[in-house]
């Protein structure tokens, strides 16, 4: 699954922190370092599976259990971004068609 920031979102960030402005709701949010990194990888057009792989390598290279937790956290965060319409679906891949079915359904509803 590949996502991108919504057209309604204006954002700024320098790696350690990302600030988001939802121009439709007037809400401002500040992402912490890890969330900011995920956001920036999304903005670079990286598939969610690749984002998971990169962060697992960095934080839990030798620990399968920890890797599973990290993947769950990332996918939960991405789903929250999507539910808040801060990101939109660009492309679906075979891997995420199964694991992210609920997110895809949301995307269809908002299209």
């Amino acid at each position: 699954m590949i996502l991108r920031p919504s057209d309604y979102v204006v954002w700024t960030g320098d790696g350690d922190e990302v600030r988001l402005y939802d121009t439709m709701t007037g809400d401002f949010q500040t992402l912490n370092a890890t969330a900011a990194r995920i956001w920036q990888l999304i903005a670079q057009g990286r598939p969610v599976s690749a984002i998971v792989a990169e962060l697992v390598t960095d934080f839990a290279a030798d620990d399968a259990g920890e890797a599973q937790v990290i993947e769950g956290d990332i996918r939960e965060f991405v789903a929250a971004l999507h539910a808040a319409r801060l990101v939109v679906l660009v492309a679906q891949d075979a891997e995420s068609a199964v694991s992210d079915g609920e997110v895809v359904a949301d995307a269809s509803a908002s299209a």
Partner: protein, 263 residues
């Protein structure tokens, strides 16, 4: 949307949204636009050229780094004169640099008179006549309209801006506030370029017979961010201006206009 350069605050995000899409929604937190805008509600700023906004419309602008949403009372080619619907004073002039856009979806009042608050004088105040004291930060010299009032019993006090409030409070404590014996302190009127209402509204003072009334002329009112304010807006009960909004007039001229209004 692509990211902005780093290290920018919320204001830059709002400006960027307006540049890119012509719209930006923000949440309103203050009460200055009651009843038109309720605190906590969302308003949408839309791009509109500075030259295109007119009196009665609500605009968003930046003052001291914060975003304000207030209504235009008047304008000329380079400045907007704005105020919150529930505020007694005009804001510092809004220039094109600080202007963000127009707030969509708010009705324009039928007449600009709707922007002026009512004079807070009620029927219950009709006792004992009105006794006026004019307070000025400097000697105004001879002002014909004031002289006539002084002959009729009014007073003129020349008191520096830093001392005027303490002297007013001293008089109130001494029991001079109200000759009718109600214990209510004197009505205080501020006359400044930022006053929301025209001096003509003071004409209601004479028939109302409100007891003692202190009229402060030549002092500056406003929030500290306006740069040169000396007295807080709530230091007086009612604000008027002697001339056009934000137009400074000499002290003697302001006194003359105000005295003529209350005579």
């Amino acid at each position: 949307m692509p990211p902005l350069p780093p290290d920018r605050g919320e204001l830059s995000l709002i400006r960027a949204a307006l540049r890119r899409s012509g719209r930006a929604t923000i949440r309103v937190t203050g009460t200055s636009m009651l009843p038109s805008i309720v605190p906590g509600s969302q308003v949408t700023i839309e791009h509109k050229p500075f030259a295109g906004v007119r009196a009665g419309e609500v605009v968003a602008f930046v003052l001291s780094g914060d975003v304000f949403v207030h209504r235009i009372a008047e304008r000329d080619a380079t400045r907007l004169v704005t105020a919150g619907d529930s505020m007694p004073l005009f804001d510092p002039p809004v220039t094109e640099d600080s202007y963000l856009g127009q707030v969509a979806g708010l009705p324009v009042p039928a007449g600009l008179a709707a922007l002026s608050g009512p004079l807070p004088i009620g029927a219950a105040d009709r006792a004992g006549g009105t006794r006026l004291t004019f307070w000025c930060p400097a000697d105004p010299g001879r002002v014909p309209a004031v002289s006539a009032l002084l002959t009729a019993g009014a007073q003129l006090r020349v008191v520096a801006d830093k001392d005027v409030l303490s002297q007013l409070e001293q008089l109130d404590r001494a029991g001079h506030a109200d000759a009718s014996g109600s214990g209510r302190r004197a009505l205080r009127v501020g006359v400044s370029a930022a006053g929301r209402s025209a001096a003509g509204t003071l004409a209601a003072l004479a028939p109302a017979g409100i007891g003692r009334c202190d009229i402060l002329v030549g002092y500056r009112f406003g929030s500290p961010c306006s740069g040169h304010a000396t007295l807080a807006p709530d230091a007086v009960d009612y604000h008027v201006r002697a001339a056009a909004p934000l137009a400074e007039v000499p002290l003697d001229q302001a006194l003359d206009i105000v005295a003529a209004a209350v005579r």
